[in-house]
């Protein structure tokens, strides 16, 4: 007579190594891959911090994404320790994982012992549908989407670069989008600033951007700053944001932004455009170089024309803005290799990308110092600042 289901489970549990929650708690983060094999609804109600979610029903198809190294220590858990024992048996006997264990008593015992549980932000059914293509990506998934929904991203400028960046960040579900821009929509903007529309000419850009963003994704909270960024307001405005997207059109503000973000430790995704050329880099304070390490001083005004004076291909800020939006999503979700310490050049006519190294300057006047030493009076200032601004008008 075939054994009962209970008997099979009992026999399999005898063949699988079982570990106590105390041991799991001790080894969390030490190269151990902790896998929650429960169903999605159970995971959403709370899971062990640092665990990855691979439902038992998808074990064979998804485990390699969570634990690519079959020699790594893998500990599985479920609600009570039965499903994880069965899954551990499969990993060991069928998939060839050599160092697998199942946690005794599952998350129920874990909680009884008073260990910490993360309760993830639960997406509504509508959000699950809206962000479904993100949820399918193991690198983003529900956790990454929750990070996006919790993220606060500040866009400096709702112009050429800010307009397309804002659209994609809104679509991606970035929870709070701050927008700093004191301009009104002008007919000449519409060749590239795709967040604005013809019927909104003359209205403030922050209002126009808000209208488009809310039409695209009502999840997004838009915070409007219809002001010009200067030394008197920058710290107050940028404080509390997770990432800043720099698309400003002048050097004094770029240096000011750099110094303020180094002071507060906020990463900046920076792009600039002119004609058919774009530049892009990510400045993450103290993890890599800052803007002043790359460009210690700005060029003289005659070598620093604006897009208004020199022209720009309308698509170009779209291309560069998309790259900025991509870097923002990577920084927020913590995936991939952000463009830190690298400068990406795009030349549209030749359709070429060039990557250059950017080194941290050990003598950088700003980022080589303790952030608390940076005082208001020196923020945004560079040699010949007054002359530069006078020449630039």
């Amino acid at each position: 007579m075939s054994p009962s289901g209970a008997e099979v489970i009992r026999q399999i549990k005898q063949q699988v190594e079982e570990v106590d929650p105390a041991e799991v708690s001790e080894h969390l983060g030490n190269g151990v891959v902790l896998v929650d094999v429960r169903e999605s609804e159970e995971w959403d109600r709370g899971h062990i911090p640092g665990a990855v979610h691979v439902p038992r029903s998808y074990l064979e198809s998804r485990i390699e994404g969570a634990a690519p190294d079959r020699a790594a220590r893998v500990i599985l858990y479920c609600a009570s320790g039965q499903r994880s024992a069965l899954a551990a048996h499969t990993l060991k006997e069928v998939l060839g994982y050599s160092d697998v264990a199942s946690m005794t008593g599952g998350i129920t015992l874990w909680k009884d012992r008073g260990y910490k549980v993360d309760v993830p932000k639960v997406l509504t059914p509508e959000q699950k549908e809206r962000y479904g293509r993100h949820l399918l990506l193991p690198e983003v998934g529900g956790e990454g989407q929750a990070k996006l929904l919790d993220a606060k991203v500040l866009l400096l400028g709702a112009g050429g670069l800010g307009a397309p960046t804002a659209l994609y960040l809104a679509a991606a579900g970035v929870g709070t989008l701050g927008i700093v821009d004191d301009d009104d929509v002008d007919l000449s903007n519409l060749q590239r600033q795709v967040i604005h529309t013809t019927d909104r000419i003359g209205t403030p850009k922050v209002d126009s951007a808000e209208t488009t963003i809310h039409a695209l994704n009502p999840d997004v909270n838009v915070v409007k700053y219809p002001v010009r960024l200067d030394a008197s307001n920058i710290l107050e405005i940028i404080d509390g944001y997770d990432v800043i997207v720099d698309g400003v059109d002048n050097f004094p503000t770029r240096y000011l932004l750099n110094d303020a973000t180094v002071r507060l430790g906020i990463p900046v995704v920076s792009a600039s455009i002119l004609g058919f050329d774009g530049q892009l880099s990510v400045f993450k304070p103290h993890d890599g170089p800052c803007y002043r390490c790359l460009y210690p001083v700005p060029p003289p005004a005659e070598l620093a024309p604006s897009c208004g004076a020199n022209g720009v291909l309308g698509v170009l800020p779209g291309t560069m803005g998309m790259l900025q939006a991509t870097e923002v999503v990577k920084l927020v979700t913590g995936i991939g290799e952000p463009l830190i310490g690298r400068l990406l050049l795009y030349e549209a006519l030749g359709a070429t990308f060039t990557e250059l190294k950017v080194r941290r300057d050990p003598n950088c006047p700003i980022c080589s110092r303790d952030p608390e030493e940076i005082v208001d009076a020196e923020m945004g200032v560079f040699p010949d600042y007054e002359a530069f601004c006078a020449a630039a008008g």
Binding site: G157, G159, G160, L161, G162, D246, G247, V248, D249, N250, F251, R254, A271, S272, I273, L274, G275, F276, D277, Q279, L294, Y295, P296, V297, P298, P299, P300, L303, A304, P305, S306, C307, N310, V312, P317, L345, E347, L349, G350, T354, E355, L356, K357, V358, R359
Partner: protein, 90 residues
């Protein structure tokens, strides 16, 4: 002969070219020989004392010459120099 990539703002000084060639065995001699052919470039690249202007970054292939040997950095026949001032357009 090494290739020098010219940024948008300096192209009017070299007849609109995106890329030019110039002879020289190090960064300084390549850029000086370029500036001899295109005199408008001289003050854009070099200060009165002959040093590279601080607002111009020069990369040998993908590395900033400031972290190499500056203008004395050796340049090979097949190397690419990128001349790059900051841009602020947004």
């Amino acid at each position: 002969m090494p290739v020098i990539k010219i940024p948008v703002v300096l192209r009017p000084s070299v007849g609109g070219e995106k890329e030019v060639h110039a002879d020289g065995s190090d960064v300084g001699s390549v850029l000086r020989s370029l500036a001899e052919r295109h005199p408008d470039l001289r003050s854009q690249l070099f200060g009165p004392d002959g040093s590279l202007n601080r607002y111009v970054n020069v990369y040998l292939n993908d590395e900033d010459v400031r972290v190499l040997d500056g203008l004395d950095t050796a340049v090979g026949e097949n190397d690419v120099l990128n001349v790059l001032p900051a841009m602020a357009g947004g």
